[in-house]
């Protein structure tokens, strides 16, 4: 048995205008979990796509189980025991788990009939063996994301995969689900499977992998053992410079002025179900209030109510003396509330518009851009856009480029530039670093801190607990549509926060008979 499940030597893969993989050597030991770490665009997914047969490398060798292979397609890779679980699942939502897994390899009885029972049995056996609990008869579109991922993994195993490639598996999981995945990976190891974990999350790489290979700009920076390294070292390898991980608490002392008060807000989600059940918050100037919580507890809806994008069913929202309750987005904008939306493609930008036209979205009614409804100053728009592009480092050929042609990080920079230059008194930042690489994340946090220091009241909603802990001056935990605790990030511990996020109360309090 060859020591290496997979060996890739000197892989070069070019695309028009960019060398995605520039002479990469990569070796996956049998039975290990090997992390492939790198910023967005470093070449991790491309390398694995080459292994999977989706791309053919211009140069280089691929050796699978000791046998070299060239110019093969994914069907061949699957036959050789390589399975890939993509970041965006490839499941048919309306079919059941079993139907999805057996798609293309359906067991037949009596020559013609679909042998569903055989498939269900086989799938159940896999599920048991690898510790991946799933329900073969459930419909995929009703499953939580973590379970859908397990279906994808079993799908690969069902086809005889010995080597698994998981592309950003933790991007869509809750902390609990990440734990489950970690257990599953250990089980897979026991069964002799080898796994490649593509990720840009440092903590997970260290926590789940045996070895880690760091890629930067298409080249291998180094391969280390997880136990022998730390986050700082990995981050440096990823970006090539000392990444600032220090904490920036506010230097402002004394009583902070209240900018926005939220009392007893209730609201329904898109399905008409109560999602906010009484939120009380106070946003203060010179302060970042972080909202920690597992996705699905009302964060998104909270951000929408605080920016006029969702009707409240009860409660009041005050900005200073003005009562903004029940008003639309326009009133909130005019009142000086800036919003960095969680979904930049849906809300933050009109993707088919140019940067010029996006830079004024929300501000287009200002007289500097449009002195009357019948006249829009094109020159002023262009000048303003150029200012944002320069001041906020938006990489783009011109102000007339379409928003959809920019990378996620640059799109976010434009949005932040637009919101920040309003000099708002309140900034609602919802998942502002989602989907960004280390450089982009750093930048966004810098901007938020800057705004705080200049006197804005910042509300940061983030699924990334580390981010919330690092950046906030106060932390509010949201659980089941309510704020269950407000903590000081200096004194709170992660375990306590985790419990609050996952169950709404701390176990010591629960033992004392306090039901939540």
């Amino acid at each position: 048995m060859p020591e290496y499940a997979v060996e890739m030597r000197g892989i070069v893969k070019r695309f028009p205008g960019v060398v995605a993989n520039d002479g990469i050597d990569f070796a996956l030991e049998r039975g290990e979990v090997h992390g492939l770490l790198g910023e967005n665009g470093a070449g991790k997914t491309v390398l694995m796509s080459v292994l999977y047969g989706l791309y053919h490398p211009e140069e280089g060798e691929i050796v699978i189980n000791g046998v070299p292979h060239r110019h093969y397609r994914p069907a061949r890779a699957i036959g050789l025991g390589i399975g890939m679980v993509h970041q965006h699942f490839m499941l048919v939502p309306r079919l059941t788990v079993a139907e999805n897994i057996m798609l293309g390899q359906e067991p037949i009885k009596s020559g013609v009939l679909l042998d569903r029972e055989a498939a269900v049995r086989k799938i159940g056996a896999f599920s048991q063996q690898y510790g991946l609990p799933i329900d073969p008869r459930a419909r995929v579109n009703q499953l939580p994301v973590g379970e859908q991922q397990r279906v994808e993994i079993i799908k690969a195993l069902y086809r005889g995969a010995d080597t698994l490639i998981l592309d950003e598996p933790t991007a869509v999981l809750t902390e609990q689900e990440v734990e489950s995945l970690r257990d599953a990976l250990l089980k897979l190891k026991d069964e002799g499977k080898s796994t490649v974990l593509i990720t840009h999350k440092l903590r997970e790489a260290i926590g789940m992998c045996d070895r880690i290979t760091v890629l930067r700009k298409g080249r291998v920076v180094g391969t280390v053992h997880a136990k022998e390294t730390n986050e700082r070292e990995l981050a440096e390898m990823m970006v090539g410079r000392d990444v600032v991980f220090t904490v920036h608490r506010s230097e402002k002392t004394g009583e902070l002025e209240t900018a926005m008060t939220v009392e007893g807000i209730t609201a329904c989600d898109d399905r008409g179900i109560d999602i906010l059940k009484g939120i009380d918050l106070e946003l203060r100037r010179h302060e970042i209030l972080g909202i920690a919580g597992v996705q699905g507890n009302g964060q998104t809806e909270l951000a929408e109510t605080l920016t006029g994008l969702r009707r409240t069913t009860g409660g009041r929202i005050w900005l200073g003396d003005s009562d903004l309750t029940g008003q639309g987005a326009r009133a909130f904008i005019d009142a000086g509330i800036a919003h960095i939306p969680s979904d930049r493609h849906l809300r933050g930008l009109v993707m088919s518009f140019s940067l010029r036209e996006n830079a004024i979205l929300g501000r287009h009614r200002e007289s500097q851009f449009s002195p009357s409804p019948f006249w829009q100053k094109q020159g002023a728009m262009t000048r303003f856009t150029r200012e944002i592009i320069n001041a906020f480092g938006v990489k783009t050929p011109s102000a007339g480029t379409l928003a959809q042609n920019l990378s996620g990080g640059n799109q976010q920079r434009l949005i932040i530039g637009r919101e920040v230059t309003k000099n708002p008194c309140v900034i609602i930042a919802a998942q502002p670093t989602r989907g960004l690489d280390v450089g982009g994340i750093e930048y966004v946090r810098e901007q938020l801190l800057k705004m705080r220091n200049q006197g804005a009241a910042v509300l940061l909603i983030s699924m990334d607990l580390d981010e919330v802990l690092m950046v906030s001056d106060r932390i509010a935990v949201i659980y089941d549509g309510r704020i269950v605790a407000i903590k000081d990030p200096e004194s709170v511990n992660r375990r306590e926060l985790g419990e609050l996020m996952l169950s709404g109360s701390v176990s010591s309090e629960r033992e004392a008979g306090d039901e939540s």
């Binding site: 920016t307 987005a329 326009r330 009109v350 088919s352 036209e357 979205l361 929300g362 009614r365 829009q376």
Partner: protein, 341 residues
Amino acid sequence: MLVRETGVTLLSISLAFGIGCIILWAGGYSIPAVFANLWKGAFGNKISIGQTLTQATPIIFTSLSFLIAFRCGLFNIGAEGQMYMGAMAAAVVGIYVKLPGVLHVLICLLAAGAVGAAWGWIPGYLKAKRGVNEFVTTMMLSSVAVYFTDLLVAPRMFLHDTRYGSNQTVRVLGTAVLPKLLRPTQVTWAIIIAGCVVLLVWYYLFRTRSGYELRAVGQSPSAAEYGGISVKRKIILSMCLAGFVAGLAGAGEVLGTHTRFISGFSPGYGWDGIAGGLIARAHPVGVLFSAFLMGALRAGSMQVQRSGAAPGDIASVLQGLVIFFVIAPTLIRRLIRWRRR
């Protein structure tokens, strides 16, 4: 980008004509004879060109009508009906209101636009407030308008011209008539007005705040809402504007081509507007080209019919093919997005 778009359109037209040739050949028709007559009818002499321009004029308006609604993400299928309502309004003001020359024409145009806008407001309001599919409402209201105006000019009705058997009004007053431009053709000042409206629509969509908001709603209602734009108001506004412009189409026919309201005066200009708007890729200036093309096809097909080289329907076949090749990819992309809403 623009060069590529134009190239694609020209290529599509060539493909359409190519397939058209195959169809003609399969039907046993003489391809040279058909195309010769097509050309003759559209561009052969001054009369022909006049016919092309006369037919193109109302199509410019109805194409703009479709385009404005399209830019807001709506399908205005009812330009035909909005045109009829506007035509009736123009006729009424043209016959019964006494005003000096240019002023009379202006008031007639405004009346036509206003009534057309009102006819567009109905589906707009229903869509905005109740989510009613505008495709259905505009189409249905179109039928209502055509039959309603027919009723108004039927015998024994007040507006009917008793000297004639057919359903039509008397001639509008001299002061309301749009003067002819190209004697002895039927081309009138209506085409000049149409050209001006093209520029106005372009300016509105691309240089005004309101047009910006309208386009934002059309491209991304969620982002528009985020930017503080009232999506509902823009939907209603776009349908009103669409109706207004279609109403002007009717005014052009009543005050210019026919100088009276004749029931059923439109051989389908409203429907051609849908094609015209789509072929122009929803760009106002492109409408000049697509409406001209439609007008030429109509004028040419009349000659083909007359000459007996092929049934006049060949123009419809060609028109259909052109639409298919030019807009199929764009339309499919749009329809997918529209259905998701």
